[in-house]
Symmetry: C2
Subunit: 489 residues, 2 copies
């Protein structure tokens, strides 16, 4: 369980990324020669092996090619054009009872085996996380736990951890009181409790189209109806349409992922988040904000959540450490605004409290201060991985494919050529030991039949490149029908 | 965080208990002289200090008195008679919507502070648990965890732990398949998921009268109605009445604690459990069996659960390690019979998975084999503590009090003299830094207004004896009304 050697991998990845950006920006064009390894070593103070690693990486992605005894050259993109973005969906209007099909569990299960290429996984590679340091925090924090902590912290949860979470909000300018925070078993429990607090069986709730399947499962479990609203692949939910459905169908809440939406990867601009909060406030409508990916941003600062613009306590903000620090620890939280006490009670009623040793370990880890360093390294890795998968899809998938470079997170949403059946593709890919998440998982009406979500949670390598080529071949060879798929999820 | 010195305390407690049994059985009668310390040392091979400790313990409980230079004599019981048992309740017929009052949360919160005598706590003293050994298991098991375990075990949970749980069932003669077991965040989550699997909003569910308040909270959360059935303080629910309400009101399930019921401490005899299962099978009615206290038995073997008589998979058996091994770890499970896949999915939908490091630690601890030794020691401690609290109540509480010696677990249910208001007593006791659980918490109609549940989770000592006397004085001084309390919970 060794930590990843972050320094070494970062250097060559950074160099590769810089060159890739120059290629993307047209500074280096197809046929151009890259600076020689010797030149690059000299100009940047890097070792030859670092530079070679960067060039190999670019070569493995098909961005450059090696010419014997001549050096490296920028490769021509197949077709020479960028693929178009996925189109915004046009879901049926009205609310819809939710019935998640059995197949969703089989699909989720199939992504788990180690010998499967995990393009369908919901988690990034665990090797990206500081598991050794977390373990040391677990050891030292439990050494200091007193027996009475084992029952005293049931239920309010570890106060130090709540404080650390509140401090992280504060650094973003959000003044969240420590006692607004309800610790939960991952964001999933937080989201479920918040949904339970705002809606009763038969009520309707607004979701994005496409939406994260966990939202659909939660709606089904509570007997709620879904209202789907068109959601743009870069900018998130359509506010005009949202206002229409609010007025028409009187939903009881919205469940939205405003930052790096799953599966789209969309990032709602901050002004749009502000407008969203204002719109919901006009209608007294609570927003359940699922915000588990916001630490996985590009650039200098995490995007602000909609919660930042909430003055009335209508935003129930949910997040966790599962996607950015400790997937198996299952520690998340809600900051449920004016419904904090209600959510806390629901927590008390459903599972009493979190696991004391695990909460203490995270509190210790956060207090020690290595979290931001880890996050920087994780963000760099994911950025390279996003680019690699996006580029590979762009290069290999056939004409008619639509794909957008995600703004953060680790999902790439792909619209396949019209008539290609994502469910059939899922089965064919699984036969080749490749998992993926077919589009119908992300809709209560099993729409998005020619869409797939791919996960770039692994360090990019030749096997992933090959798997992308295999997928592209399966897409290319797939029968295409104009009629809806005969095998809806 | 040191483990309790179990050997030393066990010896004197065992001696004290043996003498106490001889007193209870009339072998030693009021006025009889106890064997001298010297005789007892010689006949039993004990040290003088051990024998003195035993005699001091009996003295602190008022069972014996010391006469200077003459030795120890059996004390006369005040009044000389045993108190009667609590009466079986006669709840209103029909089903009842559940609305748990805010006060319940305040009451639960009040039991938590360290400086309060925790007669109202739901947990035994954490010093009774092998926290050091658990910690070592946490350290060594996480050392062996591989990174991929952090996501591979999400969701099915730690397979080793499931196997250890299945092996413990097997030792009782119950053949539960490993994959029937769904790991949860404590029994509370297991119970909630099982309830979610068998009933929908508006349905009615049978509960005991009195019943554990968590059952009421769960019913409320899911919009279910409660049907209360009279429950005997030693033998559990009335099967004749159960059959009547099944035929009259067509409930969708029963939620029962068949072994050491909370709050009664009742233990349904095994033949009655068999009849219960047969009755429910005739009506195709699932039983949610809340069985978290069965390890806290007296005698040679744990009472079998109703699950042992289930041939059709209708019993959803729920338990945890929270009451007998690791309160703060929050690891429980369900063995939901034919609804195992349904419950597993609900688990997946609501909180995905348990905490990987904590599950691995418990698996390691159980495999190492010290669990049974710990349980023997815990059972001995709790037996002495149950006897001590029961005796203290019997001695100090006024005429008209009814109390039954619990068959296991760590709760003593007390019926106060008619007209004494348990809610007022709760407030008065809290002002004296003593918590307790007032009877109205255990009923959807806030009945049991002159009942309290006392917890004997601590090593008995002079402070607890004094607190019992204080409670007795408060009961004695309490105004008594024939009218129902003006302050229902």
């Amino acid at each position: 369980m060794r930590d990843r050697p972050t320094v070494a991998s970062t250097r060559y990845e950074l160099l590769a990324r810089e060159l890739e950006q120059q290629i993307a920006a047209g500074v280096l064009r197809p046929g151009d020669r890259l600076p020689s390894v010797r030149q690059t070593c000299a100009s940047r103070g890097l070792s030859p092996s670092t530079v070679f690693q960067a060039y190999y990486l670019l070569e493995s992605r098909g961005l450059v090619r090696a010419a014997p005894r001549s050096g490296y050259f920028v490769a021509a993109r197949p077709g020479g054009v960028l693929l178009a973005e996925p189109q915004t969906s046009e879901p049926q209007s009205g609310s819809q009872a939710v019935e998640v099909n059995d197949l969703i569990y089989a699909i989720l299960g199939s992504a788990r085996a180690r010998d499967i290429v995990p393009f369908g996984s919901a988690f990034p590679s665990p090797t990206l996380f500081p598991l050794d340091r977390l373990r040391r925090a677990l050891v030292s924090s439990t050494r200091r736990l007193e027996p009475w902590n084992m029952v005293e912290d049931l239920p309010p949860g570890n106060l130090r951890l709540k404080r650390e979470i509140a401090k992280r909000y504060l650094r973003q300018g959000l003044a969240i009181a420590t006692d607004e925070i309800v610790l939960t078993h991952g964001a999933m429990e937080a989201l479920n409790l918040c949904l339970n607090a705002v809606a009763r069986a038969g009520d309707a709730v607004v979701v994005e189209s496409p939406t994260f399947y966990v939202a659909l499962q939660a709606l089904q479990r509570l007997g709620l109806r879904a209202i789907e609203v068109p959601t743009h692949c870069r900018e998130g939910i359509d506010l005009g349409r949202l206002e229409q459905v609010i007025e028409l169908y009187r939903p009881k809440a919205c469940w939205l992922m405003t930052t790096f939406q799953n599966p789209l990867g969309s990032l709602m601009p901050e002004t749009k988040k502000r407008d969203l909060v204002a719109l919901l406030a006009r209608h007294d409508l609570p927003l359940i904000e699922d915000d588990v990916y916001s630490e996985l941003y590009e650039g200098n600062a995490a995007p602000l959540p909609a919660k930042a613009y909430d003055r009335r306590g209508l935003v129930l903000h949910c997040s966790s450490f599962s996607k950015c620090l400790a997937p198996g620890y299952r520690v998340g939280w809600a900051a449920p605004g004016q419904l904090a006490r209600e959510v806390e009670r629901l927590k008390l009623m459903t599972s009493l409290s979190g696991s004391i040793p695990v909460q203490a370990a995270l509190a210790e880890y956060l207090q020690e201060g290595g979290y931001d360093r880890h996050l920087r390294s994780l963000r760099q890795s994911l950025q390279v991985q996003r680019d690699s998968l996006f580029d590979a899809v762009s290069r290999h998938f056939p004409d008619g494919t639509r794909v957008v470079r995600p703004a953060g997170g680790y999902f790439v949403w792909v619209e396949l050529p019209v008539g290609v059946d994502a469910m059939a593709l899922h089965r064919a890919a699984l036969a080749q030991s490749i998992s993926l998440a077919p589009g119908p998982m992300f809709s209560p009406r099993a729409e998005f039949q020619n869409h797939i979500r791919l996960t770039c949670g692994q360090h990019w390598n030749e096997a992933l490149e090959r798997a992308t080529r295999t997928l592209a071949r399966l897409v290319n060879d797939a029968p295409r029908t104009d009629a809806p798929s005969q095998t809806p999820i």
